[in-house]
């Protein structure tokens, strides 16, 4: 049961949140210009590091805001 710092509501239990995976993967600006490889990579490939990971969470049972944090996937420590 992680304790997740919502920037709007403070520390809350993990059960109030929805996980959103890797942060910082924007929707391509001009998808039509991408190759199939590039589009497939956008759709299906995300980083999966062992260690610090910038990821997205949504406080879905609270303020419903999305935010990013950095968590260590090996230790579950929330770094920032």
């Amino acid at each position: 049961m992680l304790l997740i710092p919502c920037p709007w509501c403070g520390d809350r239990d993990e059960t109030e949140f929805h996980y959103g995976g890797q942060a910082g993967v924007p929707y391509p600006e001009r998808p039509a210009e991408l190759t199939d490889e590039q589009w497939g990579e956008y759709l299906f490939v995300r980083d999966n590091p062992k260690g610090e990971f910038a990821e997205r969470w949504s406080h879905s049972a609270g303020c419903r805001r999305w935010f990013n944090l950095v968590r260590n996937t090996a230790t579950h420590e929330i770094v920032r």
Partner: protein, 401 residues
């Protein structure tokens, strides 16, 4: 009184190089090594294991074996696995305690019924044994399931695969390991791969904590750690690693005759040979390599279990644990070449790897031996994420198993 043989494996020092180096000494890696030697005569093989053999997901899964997958490609490879399971104790000369006690997949909504029916019909035409049971038949097959119409999500029926069942995971791993070792494969424990030696775009060996080891071909079989290893070779995989938890109860007199799974109520449970109830939970949502998850996932699991099995109320959880499952976008595995020459990958089995062990090893050995996919693993190449030809088994894998 031991169920195990007196001799399992040598503990050799690594040699300077091998024809094939398999990274990961879990069930799939060990099976691959065995079939490389047994089917293809390639015996100059090393399996490099960071920790202890079969100490990852092989040691942590709930040992369910079935092949009643929806899509043709999945049914083909899992059914190949099931046929191999049926002869495995004899082939490996080691009782893997394969018990074909039948697996029920319960339906709780009208849409569950449609999907179950669709899968049963597809399974039959694919040569996979499958039956549809109505609630009365469910009760007869597994009397402890609560089939009362008054529960929150009544059992509306179930699919049954009679040939499905469970086996003893350690026995399976050690049986493959022992035979691979006998055939000359070096099983090297405590050997962590820290990098790859490359010549241009070609892998020629691996760096390890025990020094460099050269290799003709390198096959990754590292489940939850696949992304980490592949990234050392500059390859990104469409895989995310998540915790998956499971638990056992104390030893109990026989009470549960089969395996029951429910996607809707999120339960899968069997009673192991010694008598403990073995149960898996849902996947924890976040990425993790920590081999542990959150307790509320276990609590939800218990609530779901008691909905279906009121008789379990007084049983106790003796031990919980977590594995790292490597999940792909379509809940199907990746077996095949990578963009780096001589580097192959076998990963993405998510929650379903144990049941595939022999077929995974069989097809991966073929791929490593020939450089080409076996017809059974051809559809499971990385290219599908570019073409869009996914094999979407989310229905079959909606709960972890």
């Amino acid at each position: 009184m031991s169920e195990h043989p007196d001799r399992l494996w040598r503990n050799p020092e690594p040699r300077a190089g091998y024809d094939v180096v398999i990274v990961g000494g879990g069930g799939h890696g060990l099976a691959t090594a065995y079939y490389l030697a047994a089917n293809h005569g390639i015996r100059n093989v090393a399996v490099l294991e960071k920790g202890w053999l079969a100490g990852g997901n092989m040691a942590r899964n709930t040992t369910i074996i079935r092949s009643n997958y929806l899509w043709d490609e999945s049914a083909a490879i899992y059914e190949h696995a099931l046929k191999l399971w049926e002869g495995l104790s004899a082939e490996l000369d080691y009782d893997i305690l394969f018990s074909q006690r039948g697996v029920l997949n319960l339906a709780h909504t009208l849409q569950d019924v449609r999907e179950g029916s669709r899968r049963v019909n597809a399974n039959r035409l694919n040569g996979v044994d499958a039956e549809w049971l109505d609630p009365d038949e469910v009760r007869k097959f597994c009397p402890i399931v609560n089939t009362s119409p008054d529960v929150r999500y009544p059992v509306l029926g179930a699919t049954l695969q009679p040939r499905a069942g469970i086996a003893k995971h350690d026995h399976v791993a050690w049986a493959f390991a022992r035979r691979a070792d006998e055939l000359g494969v070096d099983l090297i424990q405590g050997c962590e791969v820290t990098g790859f030696r490359k010549h241009g775009n070609k892998v020629i060996g691996v760096e390890t904590n025990l020094g460099p080891i050269m290799a003709g071909r390198v096959g990754l079989a590292a489940a939850g750690h696949s992304s980490v290893l592949a990234s050392l070779a500059g390859v990104r995989l469409p895989v995310q690693s998540h915790p998956l938890q499971a638990l056992v109860s104390e030893l109990l007199e026989p009470v549960h005759p089969c395996v029951v799974m429910s996607n809707h109520v999120h339960v899968y449970v069997s009673q192991a040979h010694k008598g403990e109830l073995v149960m898996g939970a849902g996947i924890d949502p976040y990425n993790s390599y920590a081999q542990r998850g959150s307790v509320h996932v276990i609590e939800q699991q218990m609530a779901a279990a008691l909905e279906l099995f009121p008789i379990f109320a007084r049983a106790h959880v003796l031990r919980t644990w977590g594995g790292i499952v490597d999940v792909t976008p379509d809940a199907s595995p990746v077996i095949g070449p990578t963009p780096v020459d001589n580097l192959f990958v076998n990963c993405g089995w998510g929650t379903g790897g144990f049941k595939a062990t022999p077929a995974s090893g069989w097809t991966y050995a073929h791929t490593l031996a020939t450089g080409k996919a076996h017809p059974l693993n051809e559809p499971f190449a990385l290219e599908r994420f570019t073409s869009g030809a996914l094999i979407d088994e989310h229905g079959a894998a909606a709960v972890a198993h």
